[in-house]
Symmetry: C2
Subunit: 370 residues, 2 copies
Amino acid sequence: MSRIMRGVRSFSTAASALLADASADATRSARQPLAFQIFRDVPELRQLRRQIIRNDRTLGFVPTMGALHEGHLALIREAAKENTDVFVSIYVNPTQFGVNEDLSSYPRTWDSDMAKLEKLNEELETSSAGTGRITAIFAPTSKVMYPTLPPSSEIDGHGSFVTITPLARKLEGVSRPVFFRGVATVCMKLFNATSPDRVYFGQKDVQQTVIIKRMVKDFLMDTEVRIVPTARECDGLALSSRNVYLGSRRRNIGLTLYKALTAGANAYQAGKSSRDDILGAARSLAECVLAEQCTLAPNLRALYEVDYISLADPESLEELDCVDPKRGAVLSTAFKMAPLEETNPGEDCGLGDGKVPVRLIDNFILQPRE
Amino acid sequence: MSRIMRGVRSFSTAASALLADASADATRSARQPLAFQIFRDVPELRQLRRQIIRNDRTLGFVPTMGALHEGHLALIREAAKENTDVFVSIYVNPTQFGVNEDLSSYPRTWDSDMAKLEKLNEELETSSAGTGRITAIFAPTSKVMYPTLPPSSEIDGHGSFVTITPLARKLEGVSRPVFFRGVATVCMKLFNATSPDRVYFGQKDVQQTVIIKRMVKDFLMDTEVRIVPTARECDGLALSSRNVYLGSRRRNIGLTLYKALTAGANAYQAGKSSRDDILGAARSLAECVLAEQCTLAPNLRALYEVDYISLADPESLEELDCVDPKRGAVLSTAFKMAPLEETNPGEDCGLGDGKVPVRLIDNFILQPRE
């Protein structure tokens, strides 16, 4: 059976499929992938959602742009701990990419995404941590998500948008002016399509978490925003769908974000509160690593530009001169990893052969001290 | 008991009040005002809403800014025909008034509004037309509606907004650039607070109906938008909360909007389709009446300025050179009624003694011919 539901299955079919899945659980072998339904349009998804409400089940929703990695799976695991049903959306949202940004090169990995989700459902089935599992994937077309006008990535383009200022203009918004308008707009639509009890976002995109919490509060939306800690490699590198473009040389130097944040957070842990002390520690680490790289030959080094290192209020994202010990702060950074200047035979240069510039972001929450 | 619920009543109280109302219906005397609950905040309202869902009842929602007239009551009657429960909101939304507009002078008539709603509930109780009645009034504070930032009426002001362009910039949007941003934003919040099965808007604010339908479609909102024909005086004047400022002289001349639209619609009914023919008929009527007024003495005349007379597509609101007989058109107009130049002893000059300029709007739908 095709995984794609083309919007013609009736509710009763959808409901019976849900029930069939549930009753088959006991007898399903460990190897058999656990079924979830895939929806391309809203009405059928909504029917399943209503059935979940009627059965006093709960829904956790995890919006993604596909290219799933352990970070996404961590969100889904958390959602499955706290809800009986988990909906995952996979939609690469055009309106959050600027006209010169990487929409076309954003990784699209449908088959491996599905394999990961099926495997995760097997894990959830045997896990003792929670009772939930993935029951629906929502993979809409752009015509479903933007039914009237073609989605615009122009800052003054026409369309139906959610704007959240001044939050959306800070940090990432400085270099990506349409980004959070696109994110807020698509999340509003996805939340409306799924009516989740809880929505799950990763701490890694900290500005996104702040803006989504603000959107839910300001628009009186009936859902709870849950933030899950950033998933990291063993050495600390934050997982990102864009990491596949790094290759090993840039990946190693990309760890500098984590090291710089650690230096800043250590200063805070040691009792410092001032912007100069905390950001100074982070900046000097980032500068040291770059200076070191500059001394190396072009086929050995990886260069980067620090876009920003920020110390900001956790709710307003206003830059801070000094951390209020009652509120704590967000310490965040963005680096632009330059394309490799020269590559070596047999070198792992990542998807795109090291030619794709990669923008990396990361952050630490400096918890309140009082 | 105070009508105002201050957000402390628990759900069980709210639910039992709902049930008590229902069971008391049979024995209630015709004179006794039928109770509805009044909510100032969202959580308790949401609990009542959930109870309505659990009981397989349906909710119609009528958003208003108070100053209720027969037009609003017509919306509520329609909502009560199609739903078991009707929520009415009363909130004068600051973000839809420009900085120089009439927010402060917008009529606020809480006690008479409540009296009208209680009387309407009596009527609904004895009516054979439908089963529904008003079960809740939502009268939020601005802090509830705009929880984070003070609401901004500046076009570039900060806040969390819904923008719907280019629709919001046409017709009324030309002279009121923040108006539909404010309307869409507050309606999004109100819909999220109430989760209605159906929402009710009057045909009179035609651009508002087009924008709300667009918002519901584009943001994948789970509600049905119902449009109710414009309520009119016997002679055709469209009801409006602002009519109280007219007084009898301006009221009579204000009827010119209706007459001009009638002239245009008659041209269409007579088989004309071109902009020149339809708008020409409307314009020439408006010009005739004004020329006639200009010949009268200042204490006898009422002057006005025609802001626009428009012939536009029913969905895009793009101006039309010719009506597509398959789509029909919206024929709409706005007049600015000037303050009276001189008044006479004992003359009924309306609220504000004829000094308040009054902007009137009206429209006819030219139905498709095929």
